[in-house]
Every structure is written in structure tokens, then in C-alpha cells.
């Protein structure tokens, strides 16, 4: 709250991860490479995270998916109703579809794996704090998969939420191919802002759709 007002205000980040070593690593990396991001606090358990987030009211919470007593999804469930303005970015070693889709469905605005480089992490934090979504290539792949048309799939109940537009599909495909937003924009002859809009729209559909694949992934983690 006493940060100097130089240009854009630094994004205030709160770390939640049960591995103290990992928290320390992320904190040093984020603090050393940029002043765009400022780590205001950290927590090693769900309960600590809930009180810590309530106290610090950070802009972005970097959330581990796997933790004792409920994991990241539990934090999301307990914090989001009270602090809807806090944005969550999931950060995990897990690449399993259930985990990724589950935290997204619980309300995270993005998902990156722990092997992400520090610069990219800063970019991702910046992006979610601006209200956009962050899809790692793998998450894009999962979402494409979940929304794919396949023979024998359950009938679509809500086309608005259960289908991706061709454009969204194109964007996701390029994301999965490892393209950055700027590259996607030039590839599809649209603006970066439009790419962001598409990705956010896909995020919304991923969170709200009742498509069988998505709800199955989520219910595997008892989120629905």
C-alpha cells in the first residue's frame, strides 16, 4: 500500500504453495527480475491462505493446485465469494487434465506449470491482473479436447456455452502450437486485444459450460 507510484503500480502477488522452498524460489525470482510484481505475502496451507488473502487483499494469487486439505480449489471456494476482485492464477507441477480443468472451473483465470520461465510468469501475472486469461499450450489443448466434436458425444444443451466458435478454435489451436498472443494476432490478422477477448471467452465457456467432459473432469475433483 506504500508502494511508489512509478508508472503502473506493481501487481501485488500472494503466493500459496505448501512447499516453502518453492515459495522462496518464486519470491526471489519475481522480486529480482522485475519491479512490476511485488510479493506481499505467502501461505503454506489452505487456512493460512484464506486468512492471508483476507488480510493482504492482493491483486493476484499464485495458487498451487495440490495441497493438503483440499488444495487450490478449496482456497478458491472459500475466498472467491468474499473477495471477487482477487484474481487467481494456478501454478502447478501437475499436467493432468482433471487438475487443470478443475481449478479453472473453480474460478482461476489461468493455469501455468511450474517450469514456466520467470519472465513468462511475470507476463502471465500481469495479464491475469489486467483481467485476461492465461492459457498454457497444454491447457489450450485440454480445452480443445473437451470441446471437440466427436461421434457419440453427449448432445449439446446450451450452444452458447457448449460450443466454441471457429475463431476461438483457431486461437486455441495456435495457443496449443506454442504461439504467443502477438504471433496469434498477426497470424489471424486480428489485434492482440481481440485475441485476448477470444481467450477470455473460451475461459468463460470452460468455467460455465456443462459439457460432459468438463463436468466430468470437475466432478472427479468434487467441484460441482
Amino acid at each position: 500500500m506504500t508502494e511508489p507510484q512509478v508508472g503502473r503500480q506493481p501487481v501485488r502477488v500472494f503466493l500459496v504453495d505448501d512447499h516453502a522452498l518453492f515459495r522462496a524460489g518464486v519470491r526471489t525470482e519475481l522480486d529480482s527480475i522485475t519491479d512490476e510484481v511485488h510479493v506481499v505475502g505467502e501461505a503454506g496451507s489452505v487456512a493460512e491462505a484464506v486468512t492471508g488473502i483476507a488480510h493482504h487483499k492482493p491483486d493476484v494469487v499464485l495458487l498451487d493446485v495440490h495441497m493438503p486439505d483440499g488444495g487450490g480449489a478449496e482456497v478458491l471456494r472459500r475466498v472467491r465469494p468474499e473477495y471477487p476482485e482477487v484474481v487467481f492464477l494456478a501454478l502447478s507441477v501437475s499436467d493432468a487434465a482433471e487438475d487443470v480443468i478443475a481449478v479453472i472451473r473453480a474460478g482461476a483465470r489461468g493455469y501455468v506449470t511450474k517450469t514456466i520461465s520467470s519472465q513468462e510468469l511475470v507476463r502471465a501475472v500481469r495479464r491475469v491482473s489486467d483481467g485476461d486469461a492465461v492459457f498454457s499450450p497444454r491447457l489450450a489443448g485440454f480445452v480443445l479436447d473437451a470441446f471437440s466434436e466427436r461421434p457419440g458425444a453427449a448432445p449439446i444443451s446450451d450452444p452458447e456455452l457448449d460450443l466454441l466458435t471457429p475463431r476461438e478454435r483457431d486461437v486455441l489451436r495456435l495457443l496449443a502450437r506454442g504461439y504467443a498472443y502477438k504471433e496469434i494476432a498477426s497470424e489471424l490478422f486480428i489485434s492482440v486485444k481481440t485475441v485476448e477477448t477470444h481467450v477470455s471467452s473460451v475461459l468463460r465457456k470452460t468455467q460455465l459450460s456443462n459439457r460432459y467432459e468438463l463436468s466430468r473432469w470437475a466432478s472427479d475433483r468434487r467441484l460441482v
Binding site: P137, A140, F142, A146, S148, R150, A176
Partner: protein, 495 residues
């Protein structure tokens, strides 16, 4: 009987620590298992009963019954081994003692009960035919002598002797079966089994029908022997009363000991579970040791070579992930998707991956390992591998290798998508790129390995590159037949 074996040996250890002269104490000094205790304690007792034999050795070694060179239960052989005598002498002594009032039989029985069998690994000479015949002759002689002498001395009548003999033979049959079951259990190393098998197994040892028949026959002999003995010594009314009271007593004992039986069964199950858990833990520990710890050691050694460290870490991560979450992985509960052969194990190369996602994961892993780069792979959809798709994946591998070698970047993105009628793979790097027209004619990688291969298999290649703008190779094949793109399993997305 098994009162406190550990306690005695503990005392011994402490006393021998305090006073050196206590070492010569004739009490058991070998401080190992409870078996030792039982063996050493039982040996002097029965030896003392047989009388003729001298003091046991001052250094008590385990007396073990012979497993191989045995006539009845290996007691005589074991005793002979233990005392350093010839088996023949031991047998003669036992027969003589048996004839003189049955002490030999008693000694034999006690030793049978208390002396454990030699473990399976102990090497012993097998018995010769002559020795065996001798042993059986002595056995018959002993039985005959016992009956004759006891009849002559009038200690017991002929009827009684016969019935007791029958009962004795029954006991021998059942006890031998117990020995056999123990041996079978050793042989099978007693793996996982359910509780019922555990209780039954304690009696039958997994010997099946023949074991059951043998045990039942032995029991029948014992019962009939006792019955004949009782009937010949009492009138009918007494017998009825006796049988009734015995039955009543047995029922009473059974009811009284119900909690004990239940606990026995529960302990058995609990022990079994504990053993399974231990094995599981040992397996995990072994795996972590073989993989993760080794890799960490390598990483420490090569910490001055970042590329090598990265390569090791990535390879290890992939392997561990495959082990934990792969189709045949540890973290998967049994069953799951059927066609998993990859499982992240580098050893499973001969079987070949059966699904596209596995094949892609495999080649990506190979390239990561060989060139110390990161291959970011995403697979959407899945389908069974065909010859055509194998060619596609191999072409993609070649593209990755090219990217690894020439792009100057250490990250390659691979994206594979299986649609109804078409499978596409994109291999992309953000590296230096090149001008296709300037590639010299002697470079066969792109021309042969990628383009040629794809054309032979009815696929096409598109290349997007320019100097400084990275390279993207797009490979696609139209899948022949409609069988492809059928199997979307739940493993499709977790490549």
C-alpha cells in the same frame, strides 16, 4: 512356550558386557531369533529324557530337523547332525528307548514339535535308499518292540496298544502334513492372499485337495484310535456320558476362546496388509532410489554444465511422471485404458506405442534426451497407431531433430491433433529459421526424412520459415478408412 526370548538374550548381552567371564555361561549366548531359544531349550530337555546321551555341547547351535534326508520327520537326522553322531546310532537309541517304556517315542514327538525345520535354502545331502530302508526297518522294529514289551510286561493290553498305535500314526500323518505345508509356503514365498486362504492355509498350506485328504485321514485315524481305546476300556453308558461331556467341554472351550480366535484371524489379516504395505513402500523406495536419487547425484556432479543438468532433470521428470500418471503408471488404479504400453518406461521400446499420444510423447522424450532441449508437446484427440501414422510421427521426430540442431533455440513446440479424417502435427521453433532455397542439396534431412516419407504415405508437408523468424513444419495425413479417430479414451489428454 515362546515366553520372552528377546529378554533372555538381552540379559546375556548386558551381563557379558559387564563381566567378561560371563561369556562362558552355558546359558544360550546366541542373541538372535526366538527360534534359537526354542531350539536350544528344547534340545537339552529331550536329551535329558533320553538319558543315554551326554551333556549338550557348551556352544548351543540351533538344532534343526532335516528337510531332505528324513524317514519320518527328520528328527533323528537333525539330532545326529546336532550331536555329531551317526544317524544310525541315534535311531537305534531312539528305538531302544521307545521299546523301554516309550520314552523314545515321547522324545521324538517333543523334538518334532519344538525343533524347527531346516530352512529351504539349507543344503543337505539326500538320504540313500539303503539308509532309508534301514530307517524304516528300525522304525518297524521299534514299533514291534514297543508293543511286544508293553504287552509282555502287562502295562497295556494288545487292543490298547493297537488303538494307540493307530492314533499315533494318525498324528504322524497330520504333523507331516504340517511340515509339508510349511515347506510349500516357503516355496511360494507367501504372496498376497485373502483372509480365508490365510486361515485355511495355516492348516493346509495351499496344498489343495490331497493335503486336505491327508489331514482328514490322519484325523480319522486319531479319532478311531482313541475311540477303540475308550470302547475297549469302558462300558457303553460310561462312553456315552464321556463323549457327551467331552463334546460339551469342547463347545465350552470354543465359545470361551471366540475372542481369541477372532483376534487371531484379524491379526493374520492385519499382518498380511502390513506386509503388503511394506512391500509397496520398498518398491517405491527402490524406484526412487534407482531413478530420482541417481539423477540427483548426476546433477550434483555436473552442476557446472547447465545444459546437461537440464537434460537430466527433464528426462527424470518425464520418467517419473510416466511412472506416476502414465497409462500403466503407479498412480493409476488398475485397469484404466487398455492399450498402454509406453508408460514412460524407456525399456518398453519393443512393444511400440499403440496410440498416437503415446507415440508422440515417446519421440518427444527421445529428442529431449538426445539434444538437451525442451519439447513442449500438446496432443488433442487420439487414435490408434497405423503404419501411416508411424511414418508421420517419425517425420515429426526428424523435424524436431532439425529444430534442435539448427534453430539455436532450446525449446520446440509440438502440437498434434487427431480429427476424424486427418491427423496433423506441427513442429515449431522460434529459432533462426532459414531460406529454403539456400539449403544445399546434400542435406537430406528435410528432403528425404520428412518430405519423402510423408509423400510415400499419402501425407503432405508445409514449411513456414524465413531467416530470423523461426521454423514451423506442418505435417498432415488423411487417415485412410474410418476406423481412425474412434477411440477417445480418458487418457487422451494426459500425454
Amino acid at each position: 512356550m515362546k515366553d520372552c526370548p528377546g529378554h533372555v538374550s538381552m540379559d546375556n548381552v548386558s551381563s557379558s558386557l559387564e563381566s567378561p567371564e560371563a561369556v562362558s555361561d552355558p546359558a544360550p549366548t546366541s542373541a538372535d531369533t526366538g527360534e534359537t531359544e526354542i531350539a536350544t531349550r528344547s534340545a537339552p530337555v529331550s536329551v535329558g529324557q533320553s538319558g543315554a546321551l551326554a551333556e549338550p555341547d557348551t556352544e548351543p547351535v540351533k538344532m534343526l530337523r532335516r528337510r531332505n534326508g528324513r524317514a519320518v520327520a527328520g528328527v533323528a537326522g537333525g539330532l545326529a547332525d546336532h550331536l555329531g553322531l551317526s544317524v544310525l546310532w541315534v535311531r537305534i537309541a531312539l528305538v531302544a528307548l521307545a521299546a523301554l517304556g516309550g520314552a523314545g517315542v515321547l522324545a521324538y514327538g517333543l523334538l518334532w514339535v519344538f525343533a524347527p525345520q531346516q530352512p529351504a535354502e539349507a543344503e543337505t545331502a539326500t538320504i540313500s535308499t539303503r539308509e532309508r530302508r534301514q530307517a524304516y526297518g528300525l522304525l518297524a522294529l521299534g514299533i514291534g518292540l514297543t508293543i511286544a514289551i508293553s504287552t509282555l510286561t502287562g502295562a497295556i493290553s494288545g487292543w490298547v496298544a493297537a488303538s494307540l498305535g493307530v492314533a499315533l500314526v494318525g498324528v504322524v500323518v497330520v504333523w507331516r502334513e504340517a511340515d509339508e505345508s510349511q515347506r510349500r509356503r516357503w516355496r511360494r514365498d507367501l504372496r498376497v492372499g485373502d483372509l480365508r486362504a490365510g486361515v485355511l492355509g495355516a492348516v493346509l498350506g495351499g496344498g489343495g485337495r490331497t493335503a486336505l485328504i491327508r489331514v482328514l485321514a490322519g484325523v480319522a485315524m486319531v479319532i478311531s484310535g482313541i475311540a477303540v481305546f475308550v470302547l475297549s476300556n469302558a462300558n457303553l453308558g460310561d462312553v456315552q456320558f464321556a463323549v457327551f461331556s467331552v463334546l460339551a467341554a469342547l463347545v465350552g472351550v470354543a465359545v470361551l476362546t471366540v475372542p481369541w480366535w477372532l483376534r487371531l484371524v484379524r491379526d493374520l489379516g492385519e499382518e498380511r496388509r502390513a506386509r503388503i504395505r511394506t512391500e509397496e513402500r520398498a518398491e517405491i523406495a527402490a524406484h526412487l532410489h534407482d531413478s530420482v536419487l541417481q539423477t540427483l547425484a548426476l546433477i550434483q556432479k555436473q552442476s557446472d554444465q547447465p545444459r546437461e543438468v537440464q537434460r537430466l532433470a527433464r528426462g527424470q521428470e518425464r520418467q517419473l511422471r510416466g511412472w506416476l500418471y502414465g497409462p500403466t503408471g503407479y498412480g493409476r488404479s488398475s485397469g484404466g485404458s487398455g492399450g498402454g504400453s509406453g508408460g514412460g518406461e524407456p525399456g518398453a521400446e519393443h512393444a511400440g506405442p499403440s496410440m498416437l499420444s503415446e507415440a508422440v510423447a515417446k519421440v518427444c522424450g527421445e529428442v529431449e534426451d538426445s539434444f538437451a532441449i525442451q519439447v513442449q508437446q500438446v496432443v488433442v484427440g487420439d487414435c490408434a497407431m497405423t503404419e501411416q501414422l508411424t511414418a508421420l510421427v517419425q517425420a515429426a521426430r526428424e523435424a524436431m531433430v532439425n529444430a534442435a540442431k539448427h534453430s539455436g533455440e532450446n525449446e520446440v513446440s509440438v502440437y498434434a491433433e487427431a480429427e476424424h479424417d486427418r491427423v496433423t502435427i506441427f513442429v515449431r521453433d522460434r529459432g533462426s529459421g532459414f531460406d529454403e532455397s539456400t539449403v544445399s542439396g546434400d542435406r537430406h534431412g528435410l528432403a528425404d526424412s520428412i518430405r519423402g516419407r510423408m509423400e510415400r504415405n499419402g501425407g503432405e508437408v508445409r514449411l513456414r520459415t524465413a531467416p530470423g523468424e523461426g521454423t514451423e513444419v506442418q505435417l498432415s495425413v488423411v487417415v485412410r478408412g474410418s476406423a481412425a479417430a474412434a477411440g477417445m479414451t480418458e487418457s487422451e489428454a494426459r500425454t
